[in-house]
Amino acid sequence: MPECAVNDEQAKILDEGIEKGGAKLDNKQIEETIKSVLDNETGERLKIYVDTCVHCGLCSDACHHFLSMGRDPKYSPAGKVKRTLGEIFKKKGKVSPEFIKSASIIASTECNLCRRCSMYCPFGIDVAYMMKVVRRICHKLGVTALYIQDTAHSHSVTMNQMWVKEDEWVDTLQWQEEDAQAELPKLRIPIEKEGAEIMYSVIAPEPKFLAQLIYQAAIIMNTAKIDWTMPATPGWDNSDMAMYTGDFEIMGRLKRSHFDTAARLKVKKIVMGECGHAFRSVYDVGNRWLGWKMPPVPIIHAIEFYYDLLKAGKIKIPEKFKKSVTLHDPCNVIRGRGLADKARYVVNELCDNFIEMHPNREHNYCCNAGGGVINCGPPFKNKRMVSNKVKADQLIATGAEVLLSPCHNCHSGLEDILHHYKINMEIKFISDIIYEVMEKSA
């Protein structure tokens, strides 16, 4: 096999971040960086994964890239390991700048770190972890796709994903509060309320271009009479693209600021909006980087929060949603937190006609947007569409009118899929439905 397995689709894609980063590399720097990551940041686990894989190929059927690209073996989980870490081990780190560019593209745009393959490998080998090691090496070499790197820069400078300034953030909350007061005059979005029970945190795209989601959350919180608050300071954003670029130092700063903010406000728990990767970062990855086995402040994803509200009768649904709906199970809260049953309870409480897609629950196909793939931006969009045909087929087979996606990344990725494959289906967050069918009061 040639060292640099650049394929046709990749050859056409020129990403400025990867090209310019790659142009600065020399072989010695590559070798030293790889050695430093492998020696100092990985251990026996990685070696054992590499030694234990018997090259059986049984992981292939787990991967939506493999299934969508005509079962091209390059895209199987083990195939991607072979093309990246496999070569690195074989050549003992003596790989070329071209190889690093190609490895960056493979690890960041051909794998969504969805961990479905861990459920298909007889040995439970964690390929997502191995791809993260590759991303870490590429990050340390400065070879990361331009768009996601820009997001990481924003995290670093502003502690949020979208360059939202502090005054813009508070202004957006007040703007949404005023707007919502037209509907519920007594509604409040309590900012900086110390000792509130819940801190509600969102990802930066919400204030940036999805402000109606904050509006809807305010209506739900006020109707359910929740003692809640939103912070005015950095730390309000729970998102984390640094986790996906391999910039774990920034990830640690982000999570610390998020937990510190919750601690400063003395809240009992954090409730987060419908976002999957942010949940993974706060619940599973970022906390570990900071040395916490589990998050230092209890963290609840929106699905679980809605479940609690509906179960306790805190929001009432006079008439359910009529159109037929199907549900996309996001990897980070279903495979990552086991919320499949609660999600189904919520959807059935809200909707008359729920159609399961297949496969579903832990076995659902990935949206192909998560894992930072959509954040690698426009250069990779067409590839992202082509390499998730299996998702389009899965959606079409449901025949549902509305697609529910309780995750921001999935939502954006699936919206692209619907357009690309001309699927006549509306896509919504669960909160869109709750807002539409609930009895509102304040």
Binding site: T52, P122, I125, R335, A340
Partner: protein, 219 residues
Amino acid sequence: MHDLYNFVRGPLAWTAFFIFIAGSLYRIIKMFIMVKKKESFIFTFWSWKYSLRSIMHWLIPFGTVNMRKHPFMTIVTFTFHICLIIVPLFLFSHNLLWDESWNISCWSIPDPVADIMTIILVLCTIFFLVRRLKEPEVRFLSTASDYFLLAIVALPFLTGFIAYHQWSSYQFWLILHIVTGEIMLMAIPFTRLSHMLFAPFTRGYTGSEFGGVCHSRDW
């Protein structure tokens, strides 16, 4: 020929058993030491309950979604591994050797059954070989060592079968059988055959993460 027989039956056998046992212990102890040193969080997240839950699902034929997706492969894999363990441990002539050397007597399977299981095992390795050559996703991953390992596993059974039936020079095939068996034993700790040692740990850790942290299934 007789000296050679004594050598493979004596010093070489001792060496093979020593390398197999010491090598396996070395790899497992090294794993524990290194995990303790560099990735001690694995102990933090390890859960016996969820490890065993995961391992049990993957030990039961058709207990996982992927096994049901590949029914023929599942049947072949389970049959192969069962034969691989049962035949060498419970073959009557092997038991005689245990008895002769260490006075250990053990239950054994009837020779005709062992014969059939041996043939099945060799057929299974042929299936694995064909699969490796024909299935694009397996072929892409295959390296020379993968083919070599298939041979290492199949040869002791093939040569043992030929020796037992005494079709030609019994002693020649017997020596070849012993040598290939010894090669297989020595290869276990240091090749991909080490999945025999590590599978419970890799599966168990993934089971622990999926069950304990993610509250979901990994099968």
